[in-house]
């Protein structure tokens, strides 16, 4: 097998150049998909039979919750790469993904709480799904705090990678919480096998919104990673040239 594609990721300069090329496309895709998905969900999808219009919160709640979990999985994978191959870019990805994941986890909890009031009659309940999502938020805080607390970069990378890996145990718990325990939270809307539990004019905008959130996450992650690469490689000559080029107008 040809491993050159993998070795390329070891070069910060290669990453910086490639991500600069992807970034505009991802950003445009994120804006378009989010605009279409949310407008469709808010104004054009039919109302739900029992919840009527309050169910429209699903078009932000489900994508945010999806992303909060996907982001943690990404951090766990980056943690493995960072521990096994000592790849610095993996640590950059892990550290920069954590705040975005925390924000998305916050959005899914808050939108869920607001949705819960008209639907369940309460903002919060110590239900298995809600509690495991709250634990996910604290795991994010843990990774962020750990990364900031340790000044030695290699030690911080190792500690955060281990925490990301250990915390990944929580992801299957979140996923199956609605099946293991008798909860108030409804089971999954989308399944890989089997039919969707909604009609197409409801789940299509949801799918578009989920894709939009993925593109948004990728865009913001790349923006943050590119800045962090510049910071960490500030002594490299290509970074100095890039800084001079970008700040040329301000001189």
């Amino acid at each position: 097998m040809n491993w050159t594609w993998f070795h390329k990721w070891g070069s910060p300069k290669w990453f910086y150049e490639m991500s600069g090329r992807w970034l505009p496309w991802l950003g445009v895709a994120a804006i378009l998909l989010l605009a279409v998905g949310l407008a469709w969900g808010l104004a054009f999808a039919p109302p739900e039979k029992y919840q009527l219009d309050s169910y429209r919160i699903i078009y932000i709640h489900v994508p945010a919750a999806f992303l909060a979990q996907s982001c943690y999985l990404l951090m766990a994978i980056a943690g493995v790469v960072s521990l096994v191959w000592k790849m610095k870019l993996a640590d950059v990805a892990l550290q920069q993904a954590a705040p975005i994941g925390a924000w998305l986890c916050f959005v899914s909890l808050v939108s869920g709480a607001i949705w819960g009031k008209p639907t369940w009659g309460t903002y919060w309940i110590w239900d298995a799904r809600l509690t495991s999502m709250l634990i996910l938020l604290f795991l994010y805080f843990g990774v962020i705090a750990l990364g900031n607390a340790i000044s030695n970069r290699d030690s911080a990378a190792k500690a955060c990678a281990v925490l990301a890996l250990v915390g990944a145990v929580n992801i299957p718990i979140i996923k199956y919480s609605v099946e293991f325990w008798n909860t108030l939270h409804q089971p999954a809307t989308f399944t890989v096998t089997g039919k969707a539990s909604m009609s197409a004019d409801m789940w299509l905008p949801l799918l578009i919104s989920v894709l939009g959130f993925y593109c948004f996450f990728a865009t913001v992650l790349l923006m943050r990673m590119r800045l962090e690469v510049l910071r960490r490689e500030s002594r490299a000559s290509w970074v100095k040239a890039e800084v001079a080029r970008l700040s040329g107008g301000n001189r």
């Binding site: 808010l42 104004a43 932000i60 945010a64 008209p118 590119r226 700040s247 301000n250 001189r251």
Partner: protein, 58 residues
């Protein structure tokens, strides 16, 4: 369009306050996630360019 008028769209049945507050908070958080890295990048480039100029003088 499912709603018959703009007023109905804003009202969201009786759930306008819930739907719009959830969407509002989400959009603010998403915007923050874009704006903060852009500001951080601008500040970094400014500081770094100044530092590099100082090094050149030495």
């Amino acid at each position: 369009m499912y709603f018959e008028s703009f007023a109905e769209f804003v009202a969201m049945g009786k759930h306008g306050a819930y739907v719009w507050s959830a969407y509002g908070i989400t959009l603010v958080v998403l915007a923050l996630n874009v704006v903060l890295p852009i500001l951080a990048r601008r500040r970094y480039l400014k500081d770094e360019a100044r530092r590099l100029r100082r090094e050149e003088v030495k």
